[in-house]
Symmetry: C2
Subunit: 372 residues, 2 copies
């Protein structure tokens, strides 16, 4: 039996062993000392949902000295925007408010070539799903000094650098990292270099030269970070830093995945609020076999999808209250889920109102971000 959680924040989804991941991937833990250096940290830091890093010290140092650094992220325009994507968007907005410039890559090359989407559909998804949600979540896409959002097809800094970078790395190096085989297509061997170029191109001389770059990712993306870190010194660039975010699981519970293309696996930010509420009510919980048992032993928030929504997305007060009432057995799953569903509904109503307002800005985004 997994160890019972003792605070509302000490969350391990299902039985994920984050110390093992840290060891396996060779990451540094995001410990209290590190977090204490962040002024007014984002809840992802406070709640240890960012659990590990590579060279995050360099970012903190730059921030402490008032020196420039940038944040890089990517979006795959092939599905709907869900609560997992929301986390990244909020973190971007948080950094941007502190004066940090964002580089947001739309991974439309891979979407087109690997996933077979046509360019028009990628563009529709980019605007309808990503741009609208980013705007509604407070990312300023209109201030080009503080944000560059771009299509990989159109950004030739990225495309050119990908070619240059690919000529510095041997085939066996890529094969070892990505496990490619002779039957892999050549595109697949080249795509990682486009992602590396997304990460490193802000350090190009044309874009102001070497500077610290921070990439918030899930640990599944770490291989790209490692390749970018291998390549950076070959171009006299600073190795990029990364922070690793715990992944929300799918609505079916620990071990399942939120997927942009599976409506039943995730709550999307464009779901009708009522529909989203129903999804929460039907989600997997940490309830016991019987009500009696649950009143005696308490529920298990670390197995509970609705609780995960609170932890990743909502305020301290409701989180603490829910944790206490759950683990003490005071409030059972039905009542608790209804309350969380209500939170989600309320959030979505407000958010979707902001999205509709943001729609007016789309032509302006298109005009000001010519690479999009």
């Amino acid at each position: 039996m997994p160890k019972q959680l003792i605070t509302p924040w000490d969350f391990r989804l299902g039985n994920v062993d984050y110390s093992y991941i840290i060891k396996q991937f060779g990451l540094e833990p995001a410990d209290d000392e590190l977090i204490s250096r962040i002024k007014d940290p984002h809840r992802l830091f406070k709640r240890k949902l960012i659990f590990a890093h590579r060279d995050f010290d360099r970012i903190l140092e730059a921030q402490e000295r008032g020196e420039e650094f940038v944040v890089v992220t990517g979006m795959m325009p092939s599905g709907r925007f869900h609560f997992g994507h929301k986390l990244i968007a909020e973190l971007l907005a948080w950094y941007q408010r502190q004066g940090v410039k964002l580089y947001i890559a739309v991974s439309d090359i891979e979407a087109c070539i690997v996933r077979g989407l046509d360019a028009r559909e990628c563009r529709r998804i980019t605007f309808e799903e990503y741009v609208l949600n980013y705007l509604a979540l407070g990312v300023d896409l209109l201030n080009t000094k503080k944000c560059c959002i771009y299509s990989q097809w159109k950004n030739y800094h990225v495309r050119d650098f990908a070619l240059m970078a690919s000529s510095k790395i041997t085939l066996s190096h890529v094969q070892a990292m990505y496990g490619l085989e002779s039957s892999s297509n050549v595109g697949k061997i080249f795509f990682p270099f486009i992602q590396v170029a997304d990460i490193l191109h802000p350090e190009l001389p044309e874009l102001g030269g070497p500077k610290p770059v921070l990439v918030p990712v899930g640990v599944d993306q770490d291989v790209h970070i490692r390749l970018a870190r291998d390549i950076a010194p070959k171009f006299e660039m600073i190795r990029p830093s990364s922070i690793y975010i715990k992944m929300m699981c799918g609505l079916q519970g620990p071990g399942t995945k939120m997927s942009s293309s599976k409506p039943e696996s995730a709550v999307f930010l464009s779901d009708l609020p009522e529909e989203a509420g129903k999804k929460i009510k039907n989600a997997f919980t940490g309830g016991r076999m019987t009500a009696k048992e649950q009143r005696k032993l308490g529920g298990q928030p670390d197995q509970c999808v609705p609780y995960m929504f609170l932890l990743f997305h909502f305020g301290d007060k409701i989180l603490k209250k829910t944790f206490d009432e759950c683990t003490s057995g005071t409030v059972l799953c039905g009542e608790c889920k209804a309350r969380i569903a209500e939170e989600v509904r309320r959030f979505l109503k407000e958010h979707q109102f902001k999205m509709e307002k943001a729609r007016n800005l789309l032509p302006k985004v298109e005009e000001l971000q010519p690479l999009l």
Copy 2:
């Protein structure tokens, strides 16, 4: 002893066995029947300097039916323009005069990444060596309906298609064709797809869709043709056709190479006419050991570099006369070389005058060919 030539045109450089090459590479010979279908053929056809092809019938058919086809070529902006390059330029001009559109790729990606040239130097060479010579040799670079000359870095039709094409071919396929190893860099695996895209991009829907494409090449470039022919059907394109030009050897004689970067190996179109004349006079000839022997046996034009210049570049009359006087032993090498040197000097004087006149057109080329 190699078989003595019996006509001025039946030229094998040194002892190159063109029938063997045709068999080895799986080409079709450019036989009399094929050539007879060309109206007023270029001297490269008439003299069998174009000795083989793939699917050239398709080009002839298009021409016979008055249907569109295009001619594609590439230039490596990393050295000086010599008499070998001149052949291709003249053939391009000849096709263009018949209303055929040309696509001329400046291979600046490879020049930068593999040969380490910087972009500014590539550009200088492109204009000073290639554009000026092309213009002086009658290629119309100003008529954008009849010519697109482009930098690979800037042509995103090409760059985008290279990515798409690379996703259709497996690593083992490329390894088998190009003999790549695990220690090869990834760029090297990707470059062939840029060349394939140079060849196939005129068939993209944005550029009018499938059409016959003709690529005049040396047999050393055949691997790119084969890869392009493998890829074309995957995009519902017509397999490109190719014609194979015999290669001029270096000034040191059969078995040596004309090289853009070795001044002593070739005559460049920007050589001072006097200097060029000297190069011809010092070039390897097919003379016998003694004057007496040569008067008796005659010279060997198929071993003779100055004769090669006549065959590849000058008129029928001087060629026939030289052949007869050489093989009959009437005129010895010294006198003969002086005569050919004079031809080369005369040509260069006139050509360099045209180049200087063409210089005025450079700003216009730059303006009208935005991808250059």
